[in-house]
């Protein structure tokens, strides 16, 4: 074997040794980190967040050590460096090995060099060096593994797989907890099956918020003997083995507290039930109540539903009410239905065929959408939409059908026109002197024609209010009243507006309100007549006063109070004095009655309880914290802001932190808004 081959083999041995040593060294460092963290956890108990980083940190450090070791051993890859290392251990070679490996070594000298090297061996120092390189880290790894094996199983699992609730596996805490088995405490909350949510584990809970009827399991270290648990007024069964005790109960529907006891120690845990909301249902179509003239055709239906957890079904249901007065019959049914299969939102479209419902005139259809959720624990909860009422008109009420109310005529349109006419007349009057008489008359008549059109519109409004479909001015044959011709009506209107004959349109005294409502418009109508006459003869200046009077009357009509005539039920006023004087007790006798107890002020009670708990803080902090927790149970429903402050305070006190700020806020919430006085109160006492 040549010198080059022998050195190459030695290099391979060194490379393998370096690789192996680096791996063992890295493993040893990783194990040491793990062991140190375990020892620290065993001694003081590490938080879960800290334990979560131990394994990644150990692996990272181990990898760094491996990389660093390989970097340091990089020279083993160099053939010359290996040859020099051998020359140092075998001086007898006198650099013949290094020389033989040099690139320029060739020719006649090479056989001599090979001959010198051939007689020298270096296996022993190589093996010794390799053994030392691997042996040290291996020993360190073995020691670390031995220590790891000696750690308690609870510590190992807490470091290897940290998880919520593993505080119960801490061996040192378990030993200390002999005097009080209420710490550590782990709560496992299992939501109802229909929610398909996973169980949640809480460590050292001061309060538990979960869906009502969720399964709650409280677990602690030690035997169950002597441990008590009371939920509200009900004692709970404490189960368990010699190592673990546990209490299982369902989350109540209203806020409550679980009081755990172990000898003289106690612990209060507030239960905050979160109700499963009922589905929110919207009936999008039909969007409003309506009336059908005939029960034919189809009505498109659309409903939407949403739930916080999941819907089971959504359907459209109806009730048909037939009859009137004291005689009603009803039919009900479901128009369309769909299964939601746990979806949080669902929609339903269908068409209601009125023909298929066999409706008669006067029938009412009460239509609504209904959705149920999948709550099998406390429900199912049902959500309903607003109800739409669809009515089939009776034959006699056809003329009164007014499904969509028409908007009122826009008075501004008329007023603006009158203003425009006034402006035109004023402009014509202003330039009258510069125009020929003929031009003035033409312009004036043009304005007069517009004034006549506007007068006709006002007349239409007046006559339609008086009960005619069109103006009596133009129709001639159709009269507002058979007894009156248009001219008579206009005379009557003029009389009414002159204030001399307010009863002129008061037909038999039954239309006074109509005249009263129309009076400004009648004034405008008459003024427009007067203006029209002046404009026809080419006198815009003379036409302006009645035109302005017409505009003022229109504005008054616009601002007039509207009168809506509606039916009013007869009101019966009981003559109490008369009744009491004529009382007849028959044969009845009065029973015994007890006065109602004075209602207590819950707010004042809460404030007093908070004060008492704060006083107790100095004497018995644990009892004070329990009192605050119980106060929070009562505050959850009525004053959630106070409950939130109390929760923060309880958590701070249990963690040994300063709770001054949340307690001060809780005090403010409990005491309510401060009383503000306008001035300082008077001094009292000796001054």
């Amino acid at each position: 074997m040549s010198a080059h081959s022998r050195v190459a083999r030695t290099r391979a041995v060194f490379t393998l040794t370096a690789l192996l040593a680096a791996l063992v060294r890295g493993a040893a460092v990783a194990t040491l980190v793990f062991v140190l963290a375990g020892a620290l956890d065993w001694a003081v108990g590490l938080e879960r967040a800290a334990r979560l980083v131990v394994v990644p940190m150990a692996l990272s450090l181990g990898a760094l050590v491996v990389i660093f070791s390989l970097w340091r051993a990089r020279r083993t890859l160099n053939l010359g460096a290996v040859a020099l290392w051998i020359e140092e251990r075998r001086p007898v070679l006198r650099y013949s090995l290094v020389t033989a490996l040099e690139p320029g070594a060739a020719g006649a000298a090479l056989p001599d060099l090979e001959q010198e090297v051939h007689g020298v061996g270096w296996g022993t120092p190589v093996l010794r060096t390799a053994s030392w390189a691997v042996g040290g880290p291996t020993l360190l790894l073995l020691v670390a593994l031995a220590v790891r094996a000696a750690l308690p199983p609870g510590v190992v699992s807490r470091i290897e797989t940290p998880r919520a609730g593993d505080s119960l596996e801490h061996p040192r805490r378990a030993a200390v907890a002999g005097a009080n088995r209420l710490t550590p405490l782990v709560a496992t909350v299992t939501p109802p099956a229909y929610t398909r949510r996973e169980a949640v584990t809480l460590e050292e809970p001061s309060s538990i918020a979960a869906l009502a009827s969720s399964g709650v399991r409280l677990e602690g270290r030690g035997s169950s003997a002597g441990v008590t648990a009371v939920l509200g007024d009900e004692a709970l069964e404490v189960m368990g083995t010699t190592e673990r005790w546990s209490v299982i109960f369902a989350m109540p529907p209203r806020p409550a507290a679980v009081r755990l006891g172990d000898g003289g120690a106690s612990r209060v845990i507030v239960l905050e039930p979160q109700p499963d909301s009922a589905p929110v249902v919207t009936l999008a179509s039909p969007a409003r109540d309506t009336v059908f003239r005939e029960a034919r055709g189809g009505v498109p239906l659309e409903a939407r539903a949403a739930d916080d957890i999941g819907l089971t079904a959504l359907w459209l249901e109806y009730i048909v009410s037939s009859g009137e007065g004291e005689s009603f019959t009803f039919r009900s049914g479901i128009l369309a239905r769909r299964a939601a299969r746990g979806a949080r939102t669902a929609s339903l479209r269908s068409v209601m065929r009125l023909d298929s419902l066999v409706l008669r005139p006067g029938d009412l259809i009460h239509l609504r959408a209904v959705a149920v959720d999948g709550n099998t624990a406390t429900g199912p909860d049902t959500g309903v939409s607003e109800t739409r009422v669809l009515r089939v008109a009776r034959a006699g009420e056809y003329d009164s059908l007014a499904v969509e109310g028409a908007p009122p005529p826009d008075p501004d349109a008329s007023a603006l026109s009158q203003r425009m006419l006034i402006q035109l007349a004023e402009e014509l009057q202003a330039k009258r002197k510069r125009l020929a008489r003929k031009v003035v008359v033409e312009e004036s008549r043009r304005i007069g024609a517009d004034q006549a059109r506007l007068r006709k519109r006002v007349g239409d409004v007046i006559f339609s209010r008086l009960g005619e479909a069109e103006s009596g001015e133009e129709s001639g044959a159709t009269m507002p009243r058979p007894s009156m011709k248009p001219e008579e009506l206009l005379k009557a209107a003029e009389a009414a507006t002159s204030g001399e004959g307010a009863h002129a349109l008061d037909f038999e005294g039954d239309e006074t309100p109509v005249v009263a409502v129309n009076r400004p418009l009648l004034e405008a109508y008459n003024a427009m007549w007067a203006a029209g006459r002046e404009l026809e003869v080419g006198e815009p200046g003379a036409a302006l006063p009645p035109m302005r009077a017409a505009l003022a009357a229109i504005m008054r009509a616009r601002e007039a109070e509207r009168i809506y005539l509606r039916g009013r039920p007869a009101e019966v006023v009981v003559d109490l004095a008369k009744v009491r004087l004529a009382g007849d007790i028959d044969s009845a006798s009065a029973g015994m009655r007890a006065p109602r107890a004075r209602l207590s002020s819950s707010a004042a009670s809460r404030a007093a309880r908070l004060d008492a708990a704060l006083l107790m803080l100095r004497v018995d902090p644990a009892a004070a914290v329990d009192s605050l927790a119980l106060l929070r149970v009562d505050a959850l429903l009525e004053t959630p802001r106070l409950a939130a402050q109390l929760a923060e305070a309880v958590d701070s006190l249990r963690a040994g932190k300063d709770a001054t700020t949340p307690l001060a806020r809780a005090r403010r919430e409990a005491a309510g808004a401060p009383v503000v006085r306008a001035h300082a109160s008077e001094w009292g006492g000796a001054w």
């Binding site: 009730i319 009410s321 004291e326 009603f328 009803f330 009900s332 009412l364 009460h366 609504r368 049902t382 309903v384 607003e386 109800t387 009422v389 039920p569 007869a570 009101e571 019966v572 006023v573 009981v574 003559d575 109490l576 009744v579 009491r580 004529a582 009382g583 007849d584 007790i585 028959d586 044969s587 009845a588 006798s589 009065a590 029973g591 015994m592 009655r593 007890a594 006065p595 109602r596």
Partner: protein, 203 residues
Amino acid sequence: MSDFVFATARYESGDWDSAPLVPPNIIDTIARYTSIDVAPTGVVVPLSSPDLARYPLVFLTGHLPVRFTKEEHEQLAQFIDRGGMLFVDDHNHDIDGAFHKTASEEIRRTVGPLADLPNDHPIYSAFFHFPDGPPNTGHELNGWGDNLLHKHLLAVQREGRIAVLYSNKDYSSEWGYHPDNKRFLAVDNTRFAVNIVVYALTR
């Protein structure tokens, strides 16, 4: 202002004003037998109005299906939570009728499920003694409606008091006449109304 004002609930669905003569008749009865400072006329209060809380007792009746709006649902729940009492009478006197089915469903959704009220409940001795429970009505005895003689009233109770009193006996028809006509009756048939009012004011 009088101590007691008789309030009738107005709701969006149905015919809430189907018994307009019941309030004056009950007011007349209260004045006739008690010294309660009662207002001579009743009021109509929207079920969706916060004003509901101003009245200790609210009367609700009708023939047609009852569907509370969201606002009515919320205000009625608040009214009950704050100690109010709702007296519901099925003007249909028909347990198969739409009023009963829908009103009882809405009450269940808003307050809680209705249950039989025992005939020895304090409401039957709150003023007059009714040892046999609720007095029967002419409509029941004549076989109107569901053709039943209802032995019990229904109620939802909260902490030992009646929050919702529900009747299928059709007191709306029985008491729906002008109070002046009471003089023609041998026995005043509205006496039970006194018990309801007194119970609502004292519990």
